[in-house]
Assembly symmetry: C2
Homo-oligomer: 852 residues x 2
Amino acid sequence: MDEFYAETDLLLADQASMDLSTKYRSGANGTTEGRSSTVSTDDELLDIGDGRMEALGNWADLEEMEPKYSSSSNLMDTLEDLPSGIGQYEDFHTIDWLRDIARDRMRHRHITKKRQEGCWEKVLSAHDAWSGWVCVLLVGVAAGLCAGVIDIGATWMSDLKEGICKEAFWLNKEQCCWSANDTTYDDEGCSQWNTWSEILGAQTGKKAAAGGYIVKYLLYVLWAVVFAMLASLFVHSFAPYACGSGIPEIKTILSGFIIRGYLGKWTLLTKSVGMMLAVSAGLSLGKEGPFVHVAACCGNIFSYLFPKYGSNEAKKREILSAAAAAGVSVAFGAPIGGVLFSLEEVSYYFPLKTLWRSFFCALAAAFVLRSINPFGNDHLVMFYVEYNEPWYLQELIPFIFLGALGGLYGSFFNKMNIAWCRYRKNSKLGQYPIVEVLGVTLVTAILSYPNKYTRMNTSELIRQLFSRCGAEDKTMLCDYNRNSTSLSSYTSSTVAGDEVYTALWMLFLGLLFKGLITIFTFGIKVPSGLFIPSMAVGAIVGRIVGIGVEQLVVRNHDNPFFQNMCQSKQFCTITPGLYAMVGAAAALGGVTRMTVSLVVIMFELTGGLQYIVPLMLAVMTSKWVGDALGKDGIYDAHIALNGYPYLDSKKEFTHTTIAADVMRPRYWRYGAAQRNDPPLCVITQDSMTVEEVEAIFRDTSHNGFPVVLSSESQYLVGFVLRRDLMLAIANARKNQEGVVSNSIVYFSSQVPNNPNDPAPLKLRKILDMAPITITDQTPMETVVEMFRKLGLRQTLVTHNGNRQLYNKGKFYFKQEKKRLSVGRLLGIITKKDVLRHVAQLGNQDPESILFN
Amino acid sequence: MDEFYAETDLLLADQASMDLSTKYRSGANGTTEGRSSTVSTDDELLDIGDGRMEALGNWADLEEMEPKYSSSSNLMDTLEDLPSGIGQYEDFHTIDWLRDIARDRMRHRHITKKRQEGCWEKVLSAHDAWSGWVCVLLVGVAAGLCAGVIDIGATWMSDLKEGICKEAFWLNKEQCCWSANDTTYDDEGCSQWNTWSEILGAQTGKKAAAGGYIVKYLLYVLWAVVFAMLASLFVHSFAPYACGSGIPEIKTILSGFIIRGYLGKWTLLTKSVGMMLAVSAGLSLGKEGPFVHVAACCGNIFSYLFPKYGSNEAKKREILSAAAAAGVSVAFGAPIGGVLFSLEEVSYYFPLKTLWRSFFCALAAAFVLRSINPFGNDHLVMFYVEYNEPWYLQELIPFIFLGALGGLYGSFFNKMNIAWCRYRKNSKLGQYPIVEVLGVTLVTAILSYPNKYTRMNTSELIRQLFSRCGAEDKTMLCDYNRNSTSLSSYTSSTVAGDEVYTALWMLFLGLLFKGLITIFTFGIKVPSGLFIPSMAVGAIVGRIVGIGVEQLVVRNHDNPFFQNMCQSKQFCTITPGLYAMVGAAAALGGVTRMTVSLVVIMFELTGGLQYIVPLMLAVMTSKWVGDALGKDGIYDAHIALNGYPYLDSKKEFTHTTIAADVMRPRYWRYGAAQRNDPPLCVITQDSMTVEEVEAIFRDTSHNGFPVVLSSESQYLVGFVLRRDLMLAIANARKNQEGVVSNSIVYFSSQVPNNPNDPAPLKLRKILDMAPITITDQTPMETVVEMFRKLGLRQTLVTHNGNRQLYNKGKFYFKQEKKRLSVGRLLGIITKKDVLRHVAQLGNQDPESILFN
């Protein structure tokens, strides 16, 4: 049987949470007669729509409200008794935001009401009011700590590829050379730092011999392969969810989907260790995206300390949004950028309160990371640019050009990466993840070692590309022909020397290599982020363009077009580093399609507040060009590739379909063509026996059933969840005198009192009396809007009497005509139906969407 | 008769827009039979829910769809034929977001469909796709220009209070002295700059005599009074809407309310000129808040160039949100801060697309203003801080203290200001706005002249307070006892000299004066902003605290607690300017309760990216303290004071009421107590005559009517707007053969064909067949959520059969019982009802809410 609304998922509704909700209710009703808290009649089954039902308290016929709940037990105690990790939804189900939020308000009202009762209750109430702030504070601190540990570990292990510190093996190269107090310190290290070739005796002294080079090369490759193998083994054995960047999945989770274990402690541990290993292996990936996943894991874990969040999926997502902000905050030292990233890119439901909490969480995380100071520089900003040169109007032309290049690269990368990931999914390659990782690592290590720009840490490369050539810089990129030794001349541009051109060639080769290998790297089964490789590609392009523009201006300094840039022949101020910044922003923008958050991240990352206009312009251009070539950013593309049930709130629904086209069963609309659609499975409010209801359980897998007045009229009375109903019936059969298979199930308020019949089963309390309904004529754009904005799981469709449900002249269930009165229940639309419909209209395969 | 759902407002539905919508429909239906575009039957009246109806196109019985529309006319031509300023809602009505957005999608579909038809259509389609970007570009440029003109004008006029430039009267003091090329330039001006006392001959040379001082004092007061009088006369005569900051009203407008003329060209002109005058008068107000209003006016005016936005209130609000961002962007030179301000503080409906456009708009505005360069300094940032000193962990204590002070000041200010405004409203004072302005100006001018810190421009004061004492600074605040003349010693703190203490006393007096006078100034009938005065108050407190901490540390430099701040006795680095920044942010935060946007504005304003942690901490503390003392920020408080119909999306609705408590008529719930509530006014779908419908128009003022199956069953069929129905009937009577008073109005699809009856009037096409409905059992929290998130104007309430509509044991319309079948229409809830309900639960007077 088709499970046509199977995703109207059930509550887990385990015994513990049932008890809990009973207590909520009892407190709210203010009844104080004692009774054991392990009640076992249908009174337990009040979990559905507590808020709604509580709201009806004073409205309901009072004699129906048997006042027999326990209310003396302490709420918080009970909440802490719950084993952590208990959720109320099953894996791969969507959540019902409206219901969860109503449940939370109900809990909040209960606490507010109890506040008057005593001192302890006042403390509890204060604890409840502050728990959100405390929770995000803890999450922020934890995210900062994790990031600090990972940063330190990754740096140490990266340097391990080259050598080890003689005296203190736990120091990385930089720290080792600090402790050595050498006067000279070059790329090759210092007296304390021993390269592997030195240790193995393949070379004597610091002189690089051919043998030494080969030994170093081999050991570099060996270490890389070992690290990568460890990383992929870790991921493979302990937490398969730890691979990739995690952002597509977090987006899906935040949109109201359950992926159990995705944010668990094993994932956290595996991802943290795996990230260090993968970065150390020298793969073309960053640890910035995975930081978001790590922070979200912290958010999930800490939310269980506060039952307000841990036991309410909608509320938990507020913490997760804040955690995502903290992740970006520690990744780039950009707290504001993190908040905006959470808002623009990952979050779905982002009320202002969450904005404030995210802000606080990001702040705490950045502060902790700054205190740990893993990089040893005091700047919170990662690629601090020390220059403050102005930019000129003419430069906007190359900036826009860089933006366009970034957009082109972004959509090229996205298309190729998705194609490769799809190939991996559908071919044998997907069955050998570890082999793939090893292959990619081998290629990366072998190709990247000879080129010094690809061999070095990618962050270090970006830092070099962003920076200006200072007076002491002797690097290849800074080999300018300066005929003055005064300090001031270093702020201006001059003709480049030969080494600059060599460096440009090396950068160009590095660009090709990075641009291509990243396509194959993003998606392999190790933790991998995209930010840093994309920025590196953009920064290389930017630096190349920047040096080009610089040389053009210097060589044509008397051209009127460049006049305002050059005070004299010697003093033209073009800053190639700024071009690298702009290029990096453009490339990252092209790949992810971020805008505001990206600009903020860029200037928090560099401190270059005065370059906001160039950055904004390049990012907007990049987004426009990218969007023209392909609508989706990389994260959305991966969501679509994996078929996550994500109802994108950015995309407008522009089709003209109506609810009747989407609802199940569909034959009302399409007649014979859809005749094999099973009829809508409903329960009547006062005429079905326990046996009949149980038969429905056996025959269908639907997770919820509309309750109607009678099977003839089909007027909607309410909605009941399968699990609630099953538990209620099972409980009643066990504990309630006289309830047998022949008992009638009553959802109505009037229950006839006939002594000859078996005892009736009164289930009015588990009925959701106010399900959201629409008419069959409602345009789908309104329906989609309602699903997005109200966070619905399902909506019931009733008949609007003004239209007939079949086209004239064709035989479509004419015999049904007499029944089609106004207000009659016709069908149901679930989130899955909506997603399938959207996919269908977008020419995607609707069956590819993942659902339980 | 009670107009119980009068705010389900009507469309203006003028002839022109009617034609237009007919064309939309015809195009979408693909019928091509020509017919004059000035059709005059009921076919014209398709304006309601075009999108919804169009969606039904292929669904409706086709013989009902008379294919007689014109589709050959060109859409854009028609749109341009519309006189600008035509709106579809009446003044002081709420808008229906769902309907407007559906209307826009329908228009978009039409254009997309026509794109295939030819080259010109392709151009039109491209124009349509880009018009949003073009519009925000124009708005940004216009906002930048306005801001430039206002800045230049205000500076010139401010200086006019003191004197005039001899050679070129159009130059302000600074420019005048530049042109003079004097070697010395002090506070008193230069050789070219003539003070009024010099011109009037009251003193000879530059020597200040007692007589000269009095003349300058008097002329200062005189000019101030003249400027203030002009400003208030301007506002009084040309545009009363131009007074105040405008932000509360813009918030209300953006939440979906119509205030005609509030954003018109007269308001723009008056506000611009009035702002220059009010600022020049030396009143304790800023021009930053009003910039938001000016930019919003630009947004409104330019949106009429693009009918997509000008003729669609929901779409227009997207432009207005972007314009608000541009306003803050030019006010502070803070484009990112502007976007966040728009998001956090003023906007209601802020999809990501609007985020991007706001970003672009703010960028364009900042860029134009930078190019105009009204202040003559090249920095885009207004109070650029040149220092880069670190801050220490211990300093967080005074920062938090400043935050708390800011929160205290904020809630004190808000309470006093609201109390004074309420007094003004309810007393005779409100009748003499010009006298009040003159009084406040007189007091301000007389009290502020003697103190040099209050006499100077407030922006200049803030700049001085934020900055560090450099080597050349000879101001009172920088009189430190430095026993070294080396430049480097200026970066460290030393013992303060006597003049510093004098300056502190003057600042303290200035603080008292500014803090109090602003309470009386904000709300007088001139354009006035709050940002700058609040920041000035905070900056003074901050500087005082900062100097206090500095002296404490310097005098106790060997205390272990301060050890890390002092390298030696001479080198303690405490920056009082940083405290001023933090204090300013805290005070502004306390008044407005902004958080993220405020921090971003602060660091865009100062360039102090490294001080993000102190700023964030102070702003969060300020918000917490402020919220503990009084929930509302100043803008929300003014909204409540003026009774604007603003459904705050920040506040949670936590009450347990249900829809039945709020809907009208209410007697179903409350019985006799509410018996005087008139019954629900409905129209039946196929049994009322034209005469009867017209009688309903006479008897009621409702703006819309539910259409039901029959008056017995009361099953809901649809919803029809009063104006649509009136126009349809008037048209039919004039142009349709045989329609007389006795004709039956049919909303149903089957129309009986009886030759003896008068010709029927078929109005099915103006019926909204998918109005949003809820059951009477729906908790109000869900209803409020739906109103907020979907932007509803009204929702219809139907009966859920499971509950009885009266409490047992009491006589509440028992005779109605038999009619209460499931699905029956019970009542209606409008936005006004929701607002009244929220006000009532918040112990406000529900009748104070402004509605038409």
